[in-house]
C-alpha cells in the first residue's frame, strides 16, 4: 500500500498563537487514520491546515503534491473532501443543491447523476427530503448530508471532523457503519478526527494521539485500543 498523505513538522495556529507545534503523521491509500485527543488538542486545526483554511508551515504532501501554500479550492480539485466541524451545510439551499455543490468541480454529467443515486442509496432519508431546505434537517441528517456532499466529489481522501458531535448514539453507529462500508467497498481513504475514541478506534486502522499540538503516541488502532495505560491517560476510558 502506498502512502497517500504524508505530514511532517506541521505548524499552524490562529492569529499568531500556534496551535500545532510540529505534527507528523501519515495515511496509507485505502486506509482509515484517526487523530484523537481532547478539546483544544489541535485536531481540527490539523484538518484546516491541510485544506489551506489557515496558514501553516511544514510539509504536507498528498499523492506527491505539496499541500502547504495551496488554495483550498485547488486542494479540493486534488480529490480531498473535507467534512468540516459543524457540518458546514448550506442551510438556505436544498438538500439536492447541497449535493450538487459537492460535485461542482466535476464535469462528467452522467457520472454525477450516478453518484447522486449512490448517495441517496446510502442515505435514503436524504432522498425523502431532497427539496427541503437543508437547515430544517436534524443534526444526524445534516451530518449524512455533509458526508454525502463529500462523496459527490468522488474523493480519494475524506477528511472528517468530529462526525459524531452532538448526535445520538444510534445515529452515530449507523453513520460509522456507512463510513466503514465506504472505506471497504469504495476504497475511500479517510482521515478521521474524533473525540469519541472508542468509536474511532473501531473504524480506523491507525491512530495518532494529539495533545496540545503535539503527537504523543501513535500506532495501529488495535494496539492503542488494547493499551490500558494510553486509554486511561489520554482517552478517558
Amino acid at each position: 500500500m502506498s502512502t497517500l498523505l504524508e505530514v511532517k513538522g506541521l505548524v499552524a495556529g490562529y492569529g499568531g498563537i500556534p496551535a500545532l507545534h510540529g505534527v507528523d503523521f501519515s495515511l496509507q491509500e485505502g486506509g482509515v487514520t484517526t487523530l484523537l485527543g481532547a478539546n483544544g488538542a489541535g485536531k481540527t486545526t490539523t484538518l484546516r491546515a491541510l485544506c489551506g483554511m489557515i496558514r501553516a508551515r511544514g510539509e504536507a504532501s498528498f499523492a506527491g503534491k505539496r499541500l502547504i501554500g495551496m488554495q483550498t479550492e485547488d486542494i479540493v480539485r486534488l480529490g480531498i473532501a473535507h467534512v468540516p466541524e459543524g457540518r458546514g451545510t448550506f442551510t438556505r439551499l436544498t438538500v439536492e443543491e447541497n449535493l450538487q455543490l459537492g460535485a461542482m468541480t466535476r464535469r462528467n454529467g452522467p457520472d454525477i447523476k450516478q453518484d447522486f443515486e449512490r448517495v441517496y442509496d446510502h442515505f435514503p432519508r436524504l432522498r425523502q427530503r431532497r427539496m427541503q431546505q437543508a437547515g430544517t434537517l436534524s443534526g444526524g441528517e445534516q451530518q449524512m448530508l455533509a458526508i454525502g456532499r463529500a462523496l459527490m466529489l468522488r474523493p480519494r481522501l475524506m477528511l472528517l471532523d468530529e462526525p459524531s458531535f452532538g448526535l445520538a448514539p444510534l445515529v452515530v453507529r449507523e453513520m460509522f457503519d456507512i463510513l466503514g462500508g465506504l472505506n471497504r467497498n469504495e476504497k475511500v481513504s479517510m482521515l478521521l478526527v474524533e473525540q469519541n475514541a472508542s468509536l474511532a478506534l473501531s473504524l480506523a486502522d491507525t491512530a495518532y494521539l494529539l495533545e496540545t499540538g503535539r503527537i504523543v503516541t501513535s500506532g495501529p488502532a488495535a494496539q492503542i485500543r488494547e493499551d490500558e495505560g494510553v486509554r486511561r491517560s489520554y482517552l478517558g476510558y
Binding site: 492569529g15 481540527t44 484546516r48 483554511m53 468540516p84 466541524e85 459543524g86 457540518r87 442551510t91
Partner: protein
C-alpha cells in the same frame, strides 16, 4: 447574514470584540494618555483664536453624539442610521426651552437628555423585533422623516418651520475671565468628560457586560436570564440621551436650529465617525469627532469641485490603514510596546 462554521474565525458581528486585553492592560498608559489629553484640551482656548475654539467645541459635541452611537452599536450591537433624529430632538428641545420659555441653557441639557431617553426607549421597543439590515432600514426611515416632520405646518408654532429658531448665545459666569466661545468650550468639555466617565462606568458594570453579551450572542444571553427587551430598549434610550445632549449643546453653540441641519447626512457622519474612532472603543469618539468635523473642510481645501471625491478617497485610505479605526491603531501600537 453569512454563516460560518469555523469557531476561531467567528461569524460576522456588528462590532469587533469587546475591549481588547491589550487596551485594558495598558491601564497605566491609559492614565497617562488621559492626563495628556486633559492638559492639551484645557490649553486649547489659550492658544487658538475664537473661531478655532468654536470648531473644537463642535468637535467635542460630535464626539458626545458618537459616544452615544457607540453605546448602542458598538456595545450593544444594534445598528442605527437614525441618530440624527435624536440629535435634532435634543437640539430643538434646547432651542424651544430657551427661546419660548426662557429656560437657562444649563437646564436644557438634562431636559434634552430626558426627552431623548424616552424617545429612544420608545423607538427601541418596536425595534426589538428588527435585526441588522431591517433595523438599519427603520432607523434610516427615522432619519429621513426627521427634517420633514420638523417642517410640518401644524408644528410650526413650536419649531419655527423651515426657518428654524435662533437662540441667544449664553454668557459666561461673570466671575470668569473668559469670552463666550471659551466658556462654551470649557462647558462642553466638562459635559463631555462627565458623560465619558459615566459611559465608561456603564460599560464596565454588570449592565455593560449584559449589553455586550446581547451583542455577541443574544440567544445565550437570554438563556442566562438577561431580559433582552429591557436591556435593548435601555440601550436605545441611553444612546439617544447622549446624542440628544450633544444636540442640545450643538444648538447652543451654533445658536441656531433648522430642519435641514439634521438630515441623513448627519447620521451618516456619525456612523463614519464611529468607525473611524473604533467601534466598541469609547475614547475613539474623539477621533471620530475630529474626523467628521475637520476632514470635509480639508477635502474642500484640496479641491472645491471634487471635495466629495477627496473626502471619499481620504476615508477609504484611512480604512485601509486602520480597518478597525483608531482603536485598532492604538491596539497595534500598544502591542508593539508590550512585545
Amino acid at each position: 447574514m453569512a454563516e460560518t462554521t469555523l469557531a476561531p474565525t467567528a461569524g460576522e458581528a456588528v462590532a469587533t470584540a469587546e475591549m481588547p486585553r491589550s487596551l485594558r492592560r495598558g491601564g497605566r498608559i491609559a492614565l497617562i494618555s488621559g492626563i495628556v489629553f486633559l492638559v492639551v484640551a484645557i490649553s486649547i482656548p489659550l492658544f487658538f483664536r475664537n473661531f478655532v475654539v468654536f470648531q473644537f467645541t463642535q468637535m467635542l459635541v460630535y464626539a458626545i453624539a458618537i459616544l452615544g452611537l457607540n453605546l448602542l452599536t458598538g456595545i450593544n450591537g444594534q445598528f442605527s442610521l437614525g441618530h440624527s433624529a435624536f440629535y435634532a430632538l435634543g437640539a430643538y428641545t434646547a432651542a424651544i426651552l430657551m427661546d419660548q420659555y426662557s429656560v437657562n441653557y444649563i437646564w436644557t441639557l438634562p431636559a434634552a437628555g430626558v426627552v431623548c431617553f424616552i424617545a429612544g426607549f420608545l423607538f427601541g421597543l418596536p425595534a426589538l423585533r428588527l435585526e441588522g439590515i431591517y433595523l438599519a432600514l427603520a432607523t434610516f426611515a427615522l432619519a429621513i422623516a426627521t427634517p420633514q416632520i420638523l417642517k410640518l405646518s401644524p408644528l410650526e408654532h413650536w419649531t419655527g418651520g423651515v426657518q428654524g429658531i435662533v437662540i441667544v448665545k449664553p454668557d459666561p459666569p461673570s466671575w470668569l475671565p473668559l469670552n463666550q466661545d471659551q466658556w462654551l468650550y470649557y462647558f462642553t468639555l466638562a459635559v463631555a468628560l462627565i458623560l465619558y466617565i459615566l459611559a465608561r462606568n456603564l460599560v464596565k458594570s454588570r449592565t455593560g457586560r449584559a449589553l455586550m453579551a446581547i451583542r455577541d450572542n443574544p440567544i445565550a444571553a437570554r438563556s442566562m436570564g438577561i431580559n433582552l427587551s429591557l436591556y435593548k430598549s435601555l440601550a436605545f434610550g441611553t444612546s439617544a440621551l447622549y446624542t440628544g445632549i450633544a444636540g442640545a449643546l450643538g444648538a447652543i453653540i451654533v445658536q441656531f436650529v433648522a430642519p435641514d441641519s439634521f438630515t441623513l447626512v448627519l447620521s451618516i457622519a456619525f456612523l463614519v465617525g464611529l468607525v473611524v474612532g473604533g467601534v466598541g472603543w469609547l475614547p475613539g469618539a474623539i477621533f471620530g469627532g475630529a474626523f467628521v468635523l475637520f476632514v470635509p473642510n480639508i477635502a474642500e481645501g484640496v479641491s472645491k469641485g471634487l471635495s466629495g471625491a477627496v473626502y471619499g478617497v481620504i476615508l477609504i485610505l484611512l480604512i485601509y490603514l486602520m480597518p478597525t479605526g483608531a482603536a485598532g491603531f492604538v491596539r497595534a501600537v500598544l502591542s508593539r510596546f508590550k512585545a
